[in-house]
């Protein structure tokens, strides 16, 4: 049995035009020490999946399916028990380091909290531990950062403080939701390295959420591609990014300007991302897919194997994989 198992997770928000199904039947497993990437465009349900794992979805959200951590079903836990899981067994780093820290509390005071809460340290012990954590995430001169307020830090430094907070209780799973999107390119690399090193050192598992194919490719072992709330392709990063089985994954790659490719014309995916309240009955991508047939519009596709532990949800998988894949841009 895997450490973390997500089984047919479905998340729906009540909305005037009927429930918006932000996440549909998402299933995956995560082993100890494994790194998993979730990639997709805005509104594809990747962040909602993360919040569902944390049990932090808005009130009134309808969540279905199972989330099992070490054999314990998190969905059946009461609020109090869930509080002991959050920040302890599963920790999370958010996208916006500017707004994710409390502006009126000193950094140290915010990092200390999970230590006192979950590990039962007293204030003095927690402070000692916090100083070493701050140093570990690269905030040299930790005493200065302990007393500093968020507005006195740069974006990268804030994100380091967030990571210190998330690492403080040595979680089994670290979820990082677009941890580098708000940062500069040169700082982005530093933060990714930090996350990767921390995960490698402590045999933590990582779920990295990003819209950036490059960030995912460089950081994780396995990848899940999401579109319109559902998983369209998943497998080992290398396999997925070389074979590009699903037409959406392939379209995404072709549409992305890559460094060193010069001024060659980009191939685009026509149309736009579908409305969550008004999803088509068949394949969500059918309206934008050049390979779509009649059946694609009426019948939802199931996951089909592409290779070893590599699968894609497409009825036209044969046609899709028949054409040469990587570098298929003219």
């Amino acid at each position: 049995m895997s450490m973390l198992e997500v089984d047919r997770l479905t998340v729906a928000f009540p909305a005037p035009a009927g429930p918006e199904r932000a996440v549909r039947d998402v299933s995956f497993e995560l082993e100890r020490g494994e790194t998993l990437g979730i990639v997709g465009e805005s509104g594809c349900g990747k962040s909602m999946t993360a919040l569902a794992l944390m049990g932090l979805l808005p009130e009134g959200t309808d969540t279905q399916g199972g989330i099992t951590l070490n054999g314990r079903d998190l969905r059946t836990l009461d609020e109090e028990a869930m509080c002991r899981v959050r920040g302890n067994a599963i920790a999370m780093v958010f996208q916006e380091p500017m707004t994710s820290l409390n502006p009126v509390r000193a950094i140290g005071k915010q990092v200390v909290e999970p230590l006192m809460l979950h590990l039962g340290l007293d204030r003095g012990q927690a402070k000692v531990e916090t100083l070493s954590l701050l140093e570990r995430v690269g905030l040299v001169d930790p005493r200065r950062f302990y007393a500093a307020y968020p507005h006195q830090l740069s974006g990268g430094q804030r994100q380091r403080a967030m990571i210190a907070m998330a690492l403080s209780c040595r979680p089994e799973v670290l979820i990082a939701d677009e941890p580098t999107t708000a940062l500069d390119v040169t700082v982005q690399g530093q933060i990714l390295d930090l996350i990767r090193d921390a995960v490698g050192e402590s045999r933590m598992s990582l779920i990295l959420i990003s819209h950036d194919l490059g960030v995912i490719a460089e950081t994780v072992d396995r990848v899940i591609v999401m579109y319109g709330g559902a998983v369209v392709e998943q497998g080992p990063t290398w396999d997925v990014f070389t074979r590009l089985a699903h037409p959406y994954t392939r379209g995404l790659f072709a549409a992305m300007p890559r460094l060193g490719e010069g001024r060659r014309r980009l191939r685009t995916i026509p149309g736009t991302v579908p409305e969550l309240a008004d999803l088509p009955t068949g394949c969500t991508f059918a309206d934008r897919c050049s390979l779509a047939r009649e059946t694609c519009h009426s019948q939802p596709p199931d996951m089909r194997p592409v290779g070893e532990s590599h699968s894609a949800a497409c009825l036209r998988l044969d046609a899709a994989t028949a054409t040469p894949s990587f570098g298929s841009r003219r």
């Binding site: 928000f13 009540p14 932090l56 808005p58 009130e59």
Partner: protein, 289 residues
């Protein structure tokens, strides 16, 4: 998003209890004031000492005061008075305050600083304080109380306008308009004003309610509308003298104030909910999030 242009604005409005109830109450007060121009059950001015301090009865629905005047009629005429003060005072505040706020926001720099400092110390004189100064010089009266309330409204509107206008000036579409070659005045008229109108309208209804309250307080102190013109505040002042004899006299004018203020406040709240899509979309406001 622009709520006014959504076709379901009316449907939305009907679903909002606040807006509806507020509209009905405020409408009722306005109707009473209008009807009083043509007709009142009795004269609101005629003294009838023989029938003083009567409790409510079929002839005098809400009873009579210590001069035997019909309370119902006085309340109707008083409504006229309250609404008039509200309109003029809020109108003054709107006209001057919104202009100053827009100007401050468009020019920034020392102009803004000056206008805001001016409003800083105008805040030091709440309506009643400025009314005291004015009456000390010019003597009490309805016009003076309107003046006092209006003066108090100016800095409030200036602040609200400047605050929301600054938020609009920071938007990229304003920068786009500047890049297109539009000047400050045209941008203010074409981009800023239309985008803050909702806020200003809401503020106006709320300050209408506050003006009614302030007028009642001034009249209660004898600084506002002078006898023999009936006003809700002065009716309450006179009624207090007869508190032990006829407690019903303090009830009705007070209720009149409460109903009209409630009406305009709820109208304002309802409008705000309708105009602000951010607030009406409460589904993501769930705690913890």
């Amino acid at each position: 998003m622009n709520a006014f242009r959504q076709p379901n604005f009316l449907a939305l409005a009907l679903r909002r209890g606040n807006f509806l109830l507020g509209g009905v109450l405020a409408g009722l007060v306005a109707l009473l004031a209008l009807v009083s121009l043509a007709w009142t059950p009795h004269s609101a001015y005629e003294l009838d000492i023989a029938n003083k301090l009567n409790p409510p009865s079929p002839t005098h629905w809400l009873g009579t005061d210590h001069f035997g005047r019909d309370v119902a009629s006085m309340i109707m005429v008083g409504a006229r008075n309250s609404l008039l003060v509200g309109f003029v005072a809020v109108g003054t505040g709107l006209a001057v305050g919104v202009f100053l706020g827009l100007w401050a926001s468009a020019r920034r720099g020392w102009v803004e600083e000056l206008i805001m400092r001016f409003s800083d110390f105008a805040f030091a004189f709440p309506a009643i304080l400025s009314a005291i100064m004015i009456t000390a010089i010019l003597g009490p009266g309805a016009v003076n109380s309107i003046l006092a309330i209006g003066i108090f409204n100016v800095p409030v509107f200036a602040r609200v306008t400047r605050g929301s206008a600054n938020a609009i000036w920071a938007r990229e579409f304003v920068l786009a308009a500047r890049a297109a070659g539009k000047g400050h005045a045209r941008i203010t008229l074409e981009h800023v004003l239309p985008n803050i109108l909702g806020v200003v309208v809401v503020q106006a209804t709320i300050f209408f309610a506050i003006a009614i309250l302030a007028e009642a307080a001034l009249s209660y102190l004898g600084l506002g509308t002078q006898p023999p013109h009936p006003s809700w505040g002065r009716m309450l002042n006179e009624a207090q003298t007869f508190l032990h004899l006829s407690p019903h006299l303090v009830l009705f004018p007070g209720l009149a104030v409460v109903i009209s203020v409630l009406g305009f406040n709820m109208l304002g709240d309802g409008l705000r909910d309708l105009l602000d899509p951010r607030l009406s979309r409460t589904r993501l406001a769930g705690y913890p999030r």
